[in-house]
C-alpha cells in the first residue's frame, strides 16, 4: 500500500458527497427517488472511510500522509517575496478517525431521515443539503492548510444555515438560520484575522510549514504576545462554530431545523469542527492562548449546564447539553489534555447524535410535540428508543461501562492534574460541578419523557415504536456508546488502541518561554523534582500528574454523577422533593436560568440595539449628508447647465446665427452678379480686364 492510495481515497471520499449534492439538486424535482442516490453515495463514502482508516491506522500509524499541489502561484512579489498558495490533503490518525465518525453519523442520519422526513415537500432537496454538508465537513477533516480549512469552514456554515432554515416558511426557523449565520460570522472574522497574521508572517497557509517556522523560533512580529493573540484569534472561529461562550446563543435556536440535522450538524460533527480546529493548531498555541481557551471552555461548560436544568423543550435541553460538552472538550484542550479532548469529541459525537435521533424519534411519534411536560410514560410505547436513549444518557452523565465515562473521566483527570501542577483549582472545580449538573439534567429529561404517567393522553395513544430505518441508527449508535470499542478495560481508556497507539499528544512547537511550565520539554530544575536522582521533563511531569489524578478524579466524578442522578430521581421519579415548589422558592434564580441567563436579551439590548442605532445614524447620514452631497451636486450641475445653456443660446448660437446672417446678407449682395446672363458676365469680364490692365500696366 503506498501513501498515494490514501490521498486518492481521501479525495474520493471528499468529492463523493459533492457529486451526490449536485445530482440530487439537479434532478431532485424530476426524479422522485433521487434521494436514494444520495443515500447510496453516503454509504459508499462511509465504506471508503473505513477502508482509509484501516489502511492508515494499520500501515502508517505513526506517519502523516500529505498530498498537495500549487493552486495559485503569485511568483515573486515586491515587498512580500515568493508566494504560492498550496491546496492539499493531509491524512493523519486524527483525520482518519474523524472521517469515520463523520461519515458514519452522516450515513445513519441519512437513513434515519428517510423515515423522519417522509412526506416533506422538499424531500430531495433535504438530502442534497445533507450531501453538501458532508462534503464540506470532509474538507475540514482532510485539509492540510488553513485556507482550505477556512473555505470549508464557511461551507459548513452555509449548509448549517440552509438546514436550520429548511422549513423557512416558519419565521422562527428563518430567523434561527440567520442568527446562526451572523453569530458565526463574528467568530469567523477573528479566525480570518488570525489566519492572515500567520500568512503575513510565513507567506503560507500550510500547517507543516507554519509549525516548522515556529519550531525554528520564527514567530509573528517577533513577539510571544502576538503568538498568543494569533492563537486566540484563530480560536475565535472555534468559539463561533462550536457555540462557545459568549457566542453560544445561536445553537439553541438552531434546533428549529429538522431533528436529524440537529443530530448531524449541531451535535456531532459541525459544532465539533471548532474543537477539531484547535486540535489542528494545538502545537502552535502558546500558554496564554491555551489559558484563554480553558477559561472559555470552562464557562461554556458551566453556563449552559445550569440553563439545561430548567428548559422544557427536549431539543433545547440537548442543545445546551451539547454546548456544555463542547465546553468540556475546549477546556480539555486548554489544560493540555489533548488526546482526551479528541476522545471526548468522538464519544460525544456518537452518544449526542444518538440522543438527538432518539428525541427525533419521540418528536416524530408525538406529532412534533417537543415539550417534555406533555410527554411521560413513553417507555412502554417506545422500548427501543427508550433503551438507546438511556444508554446515551448514561454515557453523557459519565456512568461506568459507557464511552462517555472514559472520555469525561480523562478530561476531569486533565483538569485535576492542571490544578495540582499550577495551583489553579478553578478548572477542576467547574469540571466536576458540571459533571453533577450533566447527570441531573439528563435524567430529569429521561424521567420526564419516558417514566411516570403520560401527561398528554391523546398524543400518547398515537405514539408507537418508530420504523426500522429510524430504530436501526439508534441501535448502532447505542452500541458505539459502550466502552468496548475504545478499550478493553472499562476503567482505563489508555489500555485501548485508540489512546495508546493512535491518538497521541503532538509535539509542541511554541517557544519554551511561551508554554505552560508543565509543557516545557526541558528537564525540571533540580530541587523541584518529585523524586531525587530521576531525570524527568515537564511534559512527563504532566503525564505523571494525569496518572496520579486518574483514580481520585474517577472516584469523585463517579460520586458526583451518581449524586446528580440521585437528585434527578428524588425530584422527578419518586417526587420526594417537589421541583415546582423549589422553583417557586428560588424564583429569581429559576427565572434567571429559565431565561438562559438573559443572554439573548442582553445581546438584543447591547449589540443588536447598538447595530440598529448605528444603522439609524448611518441611514440619517445617508439620507442627509450623502444624499445632500448628491443632491447638491445635482443642483450645482443644473445651475451650471442653465448657465451653459444660456451661453449656448446667446453666445454660441449668436455667433453661428450671425455668421449665417452675414453669409445670407453677402449672398443677397453677390447673387446679383450671378444673373445667368452671358452678357452680364461678359461685361464683368471686360470690366475686370480693364482693372487688371490698369493694375499691371507698370510691368
Amino acid at each position: 500500500m503506498s501513501e498515494s492510495v490514501l490521498i486518492q481515497l481521501a479525495e474520493i471520499i471528499l468529492f463523493l458527497p459533492l457529486i451526490g449534492f449536485i445530482v440530487t439538486l439537479l434532478f431532485g424535482k424530476k426524479i422522485k427517488y433521487v434521494y436514494n442516490f444520495e443515500n447510496f453515495i453516503i454509504i459508499l463514502a462511509f465504506a471508503l472511510a473505513v477502508v482509509l482508516a484501516y489502511i492508515k491506522l494499520s500501515d502508517f500509524p505513526n506517519q502523516t500522509v500529505t498530498g498537495q499541489f500549487t493552486w495559485i502561484n503569485m511568483g515573486n512579489l515586491p515587498l512580500f517575496g515568493t508566494i504560492h498558495i498550496d491546496l492539499g490533503m493531509m491524512v493523519d490518525n486524527i483525520a482518519a478517525l474523524m472521517i469515520v465518525v463523520v461519515t458514519l453519523i452522516s450515513m445513519l442520519v441519512h437513513i434515519f431521515s428517510i423515515a423522519y422526513m417522509k412526506g416533506d415537500k422538499r424531500y430531495n432537496r433535504y438530502f442534497a443539503y445533507l450531501g453538501i454538508f458532508t462534503f464540506s465537513m470532509t474538507g475540514i477533516v482532510f485539509t492540510h492548510n488553513l485556507l482550505m480549512m477556512y473555505i470549508f469552514w464557511e461551507l459548513v456554515g452555509l449548509s448549517s444555515y440552509l438546514l436550520i432554515g429548511f422549513w423557512f416558511e416558519k419565521k422562527s426557523a428563518a430567523d434561527a438560520g440567520k442568527k446562526a449565520f451572523i453569530v458565526n460570522r463574528v467568530g469567523d472574522i477573528g479566525m480570518f484575522s488570525g489566519i492572515l497574521i500567520l500568512f503575513f508572517t510565513y507567506h503560507t497557509f500550510t500547517f507543516d510549514t507554519i509549525f516548522h517556522q515556529i519550531s525554528l523560533g520564527h514567530i509573528p512580529f517577533n513577539s510571544e504576545f502576538w503568538l498568543t493573540v494569533t492563537g486566540i484569534l484563530i480560536f475565535m472561529g472555534a468559539i463561533g462554530k462550536s457555540a462557545q461562550f459568549p457566542l453560544h446563543v445561536w445553537l439553541p435556536d438552531a434546533m428549529e431545523g429538522p431533528t436529524p440535522v440537529s443530530a448531524l450538524i449541531h451535535a456531532a460533527t459541525m459544532v465539533a469542527a471548532g474543537v477539531y480546529l484547535i486540535i489542528r493548531v494545538f502545537p502552535i498555541l502558546s500558554g496564554g492562548a491555551l489559558f484563554f481557551i480553558a477559561i472559555i471552555g470552562a464557562l461554556s461548560a458551566l453556563i449552559p449546564a445550569t440553563i439545561a436544568i430548567t428548559q422544557n423543550d427536549i431539543k433545547k435541553v440537548l442543545a445546551y447539553s451539547t454546548i456544555s460538552q463542547l465546553g468540556y472538550m475546549v477546556l480539555a484542550l486548554g489544560v493540555g489534555a489533548y488526546s482526551f479532548a479528541f476522545f471526548h469529541l468522538m464519544t460525544h459525537a456518537f452518544f449526542k447524535s444518538l440522543l438527538f435521533l432518539g428525541s427525533g424519534s419521540i418528536i416524530h411519534q408525538m406529532h412534533h410535540e417537543q415539550d417534555i411536560r406533555k410527554m411521560g410514560g413513553l417507555r412502554k410505547k417506545m422500548p427501543i428508543t427508550y433503551i438507546t436513549f438511556l444508554i446515551a444518557s448514561l454515557a453523557i452523565s459519565g456512568i461506568p461501562l459507557t464511552s462517555g465515562f472514559l472520555s469525561k473521566d480523562g478530561i476531569l483527570a486533565g483538569t485535576y492534574a492542571f490544578g495540582s501542577l499550577t495551583g489553579n483549582w478553578f478548572f477542576p472545580f467547574v469540571g466536576f460541578f458540571v459533571a453533577l449538573l450533566t447527570a441531573l439534567y439528563m435524567f430529569r429529561l429521561v424521567i420526564l419523557t419516558f417514566h411516570g404517567e403520560p401527561r398528554d393522553k391523546e398524543k400518547y395513544d398515537h405514539a408507537h415504536e418508530s420504523p426500522f430505518v429510524m430504530a436501526m441508527p439508534l441501535v448502532v449508535l447505542a452500541t458505539l456508546s459502550i466502552f468496548i470499542w475504545y478499550t478493553p478495560n472499562p476503567f482505563n481508556p489508555e489500555q485501548g488502541a485508540l489512546l495508546s497507539k493512535w491518538v497521541k499528544a503532538p509535539e509542541i512547537y511554541t517557544p519554551q518561554d511561551a508554554r505552560y511550565t508543565f509543557m516545557k520539554s526541558d528537564a525540571v530544575e533540580p530541587g523541584t523534582k518529585p523524586k531525587a536522582g530521576e531525570e524527568i521533563t515537564y511534559s512527563e511531569m504532566y503525564t505523571n500528574a494525569m496518572e496520579n489524578a486518574h483514580v481520585p478524579s474517577m472516584i469523585l466524578s463517579l460520586f458526583l454523577a451518581s449524586s446528580g442522578l440521585l437528585i434527578a430521581f428524588l425530584f422527578y421519579q419518586w417526587k420526594i422533593f417537589d421541583a415546582d415548589k423549589l422553583a417557586e422558592r428560588t424564583k429569581p434564580v429559576y427565572n434567571f436560568l429559565l431565561n438562559k441567563w438573559y443572554f439573548d436579551e442582553f445581546y438584543a439590548a447591547t449589540f443588536v440595539a447598538f447595530t440598529f442605532g448605528l444603522s439609524k445614524v448611518l441611514a440619517w447620514f445617508d439620507a442627509n449628508i450623502i444624499d445632500g452631497i448628491v443632491n447638491g451636486t445635482a443642483t450645482v450641475t443644473r445651475q451650471f447647465s442653465k448657465l451653459s445653456g444660456k451661453f449656448d443660446n446667446v453666445v454660441v448660437d449668436g455667433a453661428v446665427n450671425s455668421a449665417a446672417y452675414l453669409s445670407g446678407f453677402l449672398g443677397l449682395f453677390f447673387r446679383k452678379f450671378q444673373t445667368g446672363k452671358v452678357q452680364t458676365y461678359i461685361v464683368l469680364v471686360i470690366f475686370s480686364l480693364v482693372i487688371l490692365l490698369f493694375l499691371f500696366k507698370s510691368f
Binding site: 450671378q674 444673373t675 445667368g676 446672363k677 452671358v678 452678357q679 458676365y681 461678359i682 461685361v683 471686360i686
Partner: protein, 103 residues
C-alpha cells in the same frame, strides 16, 4: 488733309472693337450678338493689315487677315447652329431671357 498713319487705322479698329463689344453686351437678339463678334474679328483684321502695311513683316499680316476671315466664316456657321439649338431649347433667341447658367 493730314497724312493717314498707323494711328488712324488703330483708331478705326478701336472704334470697331468697341462697337462690337457694345453690340455683344447690349443687344438682346443672339444674332445681333453674333454680329458684334464679327465686328470684333474685323477690328482685329484691321489691326493685322495696318501693322502689315506699316511694319516690316512682309505678307504675314495679310495672310493672318485672310485666315481670320475664313475662321470668321466657320465661326458664324457654328454660332448660328448654336443659336438654332438655343431657339429649339428655349423657344427664343433673346439672350436676356436665357439665364439657366444661374442655376
Amino acid at each position: 488733309m493730314a497724312h493717314i498713319g498707323l494711328n488712324h487705322f488703330l483708331f478705326v479698329s478701336l472704334v470697331l472693337f468697341s462697337l462690337g463689344i457694345f453690340g455683344i453686351v447690349t443687344r438682346k437678339n443672339a444674332v445681333m450678338v453674333l454680329m458684334g463678334i464679327e465686328l470684333i474679328l474685323n477690328s482685329a483684321n484691321i489691326n493685322f493689315i495696318a501693322f502689315a502695311k506699316f511694319g516690316n513683316f512682309g505678307l504675314q499680316g495679310q495672310m493672318m487677315a485672310l485666315f481670320v476671315i475664313i475662321l470668321a466664316a466657320a465661326e458664324a456657321a457654328i454660332a448660328l447652329a448654336i443659336v438654332l439649338n438655343i431657339y429649339k431649347t428655349f423657344s427664343t433667341v433673346n439672350v436676356d431671357e436665357i439665364d439657366t447658367l444661374k442655376d
